[in-house]
């Protein structure tokens, strides 16, 4: 069981002129390969800030962040971009698919930035990833021809296409009705069953219930933790 994420005393403070806003205060968080963790909290709890740092979109003010054993704090912006490309798959609340672009092309988007030439056959990889989420028959459809649930599944496939170390899903069901929400969560649960490591950020209890471990945050700290 490899340790994917290890943070030591992670803090993030925003400066608004003279005033300092502590968004994260001393976070110690671990994640092992194959885990399915939900980070819960109200808005302002710091869960989005933590997610941005874990997702290598932002630097912590202090503390250490190790991803797959590599200390992220020391890397420059370009190196962070590479890490995001190779190791992290994002799933957003608003899907963020490119309009007037087919599902297949959307899934293949991260491959465009595959600098290390990790993937040999791009088209093949994109296609098989779409198969994994069960959307082969919608390959050439554009987002406007897809339902919300289908669009989110395309987004999940996009997150998987580079075979990342972990999936970061930020309120993935926020824009979906309850039935579709559960369909999408089933897809994530299924993927986790096949070995995909997932961090889920949510404020809904019944969505967090799909995860095996739940971490609750308030005012920039982890206040509670339990397993389902």
């Amino acid at each position: 069981m490899a340790r994917v994420i290890e943070t030591k005393d992670l803090t993030k403070t925003y400066k608004a002129g003279e005033i300092e806003i502590p968004a994260l205060q001393g976070i110690n968080f671990q994640l092992d390969s194959g885990e399915f963790v939900a980070i819960m909290g109200a808005s302002g709890s710091g869960k989005s800030t933590l997610m941005n740092i874990l997702g290598c979109l932002d630097y912590p003010t202090s503390g250490d962040y190790y991803l797959d054993g590599v200390k992220i704090n020391d890397l420059n912006r370009n190196a962070l971009a590479d890490i995001r490309n190779r190791k992290i798959g994002f799933v957003f609340q608003g899907f963020n698919l490119l309009s007037r672009t087919t599902a297949l092309e959307n899934v293949a988007l991260p491959l465009l930035y595959d600098r290390g030439k990790q993937v040999e056959d791009y088209r093949h990889r994109a296609r098989e990833t779409l198969e994994a989420v069960g959307l082969t028959d919608r390959m050439h459809h554009v987002p406007s021809q897809l339902s919300g649930g289908q669009q989110q599944r395309v987004a999940i496939a996009r997150a998987l296409v580079m075979k990342p170390s972990l999936i970061l899903a930020d309120e993935p069901t926020g824009n979906l009705d309850s039935r579709t929400s559960h369909e999408v969560m089933e897809v994530l649960k299924d993927l986790n069953g096949r070995g995909v490591t997932i961090i889920l950020v949510t404020h809904e209890k019944d969505i967090a219930a799909y995860a095996r471990r739940v971490v609750e945050m308030r005012d920039g700290r982890i206040v509670h933790e339990w397993t389902n």
Partner: protein, 405 residues
């Protein structure tokens, strides 16, 4: 491989907003087409001028009097007319480097003939004028030295005069009255067409110098002297010689300026061509302004595009795009727009040039360097005006960009 992907991505993105892309390109299309056509027409005009002047006859020298400047004040056109038949005689006697010399005395007159009338210029020239000007007679004959000596009242008509006085008839042998003086038509000149300055060269009547001087113009002074040098190589020597002989003939002292000007064909060509070239550059520059406007249009649209696609940019960064990737993406889109616009503009200029050459008096000459310049300029415009928006895109913060509404 990567560039092929980037290029396809750029074109896909432009195709997504086809109408907008086209409207943005319009500025470049019009700009490029305008510049190319202006330059092409200018080049054509220069070519036409050079051809026209070459058609005047090689080794041609023209001598004309200067307007007298008395104490720095020009006395105006009325003060010329200092060249005389004497000068011509002298040149004939004393020059070594001149082959044929003809005086030219001009008069303007009311012509009546064949039941019609016409107004035109009558040029009094010598018998060797046709050699100097390389101008053949197609009907009848030219007048002879004998005619010049005897001041014979004969004339040769240009095509336009014939068409106006004797339409559809043979005018040789007919009588015309030039300013009420009766002349006999003995020949018709070959058609010469329009000169580079737009004059109808066939609207002319030629008559012996002496006849025009004594019977029409009056006075001793002729308007021009035309001469041909013995060879192109001798032109400078011939010019010098003319100056020396005429200065003596006019009794000009050392230090006194020439009261005449000698020009050779090359100088005449250069002057005319130079004026045309300046005009071409001016026109081209004005057209070039529209290219700049087109570039501003591109920058404007790219800025809008960047703002609209803020979330997309944030997404791409989240998926692993570096600043440089975003920069090149938008820069390539801008350059694709401008290059495509340039190519369409070139195509339109080809079509316009073809139509111009077919249906108008203008001649458009498309040189490969003009086309190459147009392509280079299109690309440059895209790079220059696309850079600022592309840079703004690349400097977006991914977290904020993803949250953008």
């Amino acid at each position: 491989m990567k560039y092929e992907k980037l290029l396809t991505a750029a074109f896909q993105s432009l195709a997504k907003n086809g109408m907008r892309s086209f409207l943005t390109m319009l500025g470049i299309i019009i700009g490029v087409a305008a510049v190319i056509i202006m330059v092409a027409v200018g080049e054509g005009a220069q070519l036409a001028i050079k051809r026209q002047i070459a058609a005047l006859g090689s080794s041609l020298l023209i001598i004309f009097p200067n307007t007298v400047s008395h104490m720095g004040v020009s006395q105006g056109a009325g003060s010329l007319n200092q060249l005389t038949l004497d000068d011509v005689e002298r040149l004939r006697r004393e020059s070594l480097y001149l082959r044929d010399i003809s005086a030219v005395a001009m008069a303007w007159g009311h012509i009546i003939g064949g039941g019609n009338n016409w107004m035109t210029g009558v040029q009094g020239v010598d018998a060797n004028y046709t050699q100097i000007r390389d101008w053949r007679v197609v009907q009848g004959a030219f007048f002879t030295e004998e005619d010049v000596k005897t001041r014979n009242k004969v004339c040769v008509l240009g095509k336009t005069v014939v068409d106006n006085l004797f339409p559809g008839q043979d005018p040789v042998g007919a009588l015309v009255r030039i300013r009420s003086v009766p002349f006999k038509v003995i020949g018709v000149l070959a058609k010469k067409g329009q000169s580079s300055t737009g004059n109808d060269q066939d609207d002319i009547i030629l008559s012996p110098t002496t006849t025009v001087l004594y019977r029409l113009k009056g006075g001793q002074n002729i308007n021009l002297i035309m001469a041909s040098a013995v060879s192109d190589a001798r032109i400078p020597a011939a010019q010098q010689e003319i100056r020396m002989i005429l200065r003596e003939s006019h009794r000009l002292h050392l230090g006194e300026e020439d009261d005449f000007t000698v020009r050779n064909q090359a100088e005449i060509t250069d002057t005319a061509a130079e004026a045309s070239r300046t005009l071409t550059i001016l026109l081209g520059s004005i057209a070039g302004v529209s290219l700049v406007v087109g570039g501003i249009g591109i920058m404007n649209i790219m800025l809008v595009s960047v703002t609209e696609r803020t979330r997309e940019i944030g997404l791409r960064m989240a998926l692993g795009a570096r600043s440089r990737d975003i920069l090149s993406q938008f820069l390539i889109e801008a350059v694709s727009l401008s290059l495509l616009g340039g190519i369409i503009g070139i195509a339109i200029s080809f079509a316009t040039a073809y139509l111009l050459n077919l249906y108008s008096n203008f001649e458009a000459v498309l040189l490969p360097q003009t086309i190459l310049l147009a392509v280079a300029f299109s690309a440059a415009v895209g790079i220059f005006f696309g850079f600022y928006p592309a840079r703004r895109a690349s400097q977006l913060n991914p977290i904020e960009a993803l949250r953008y509404e």
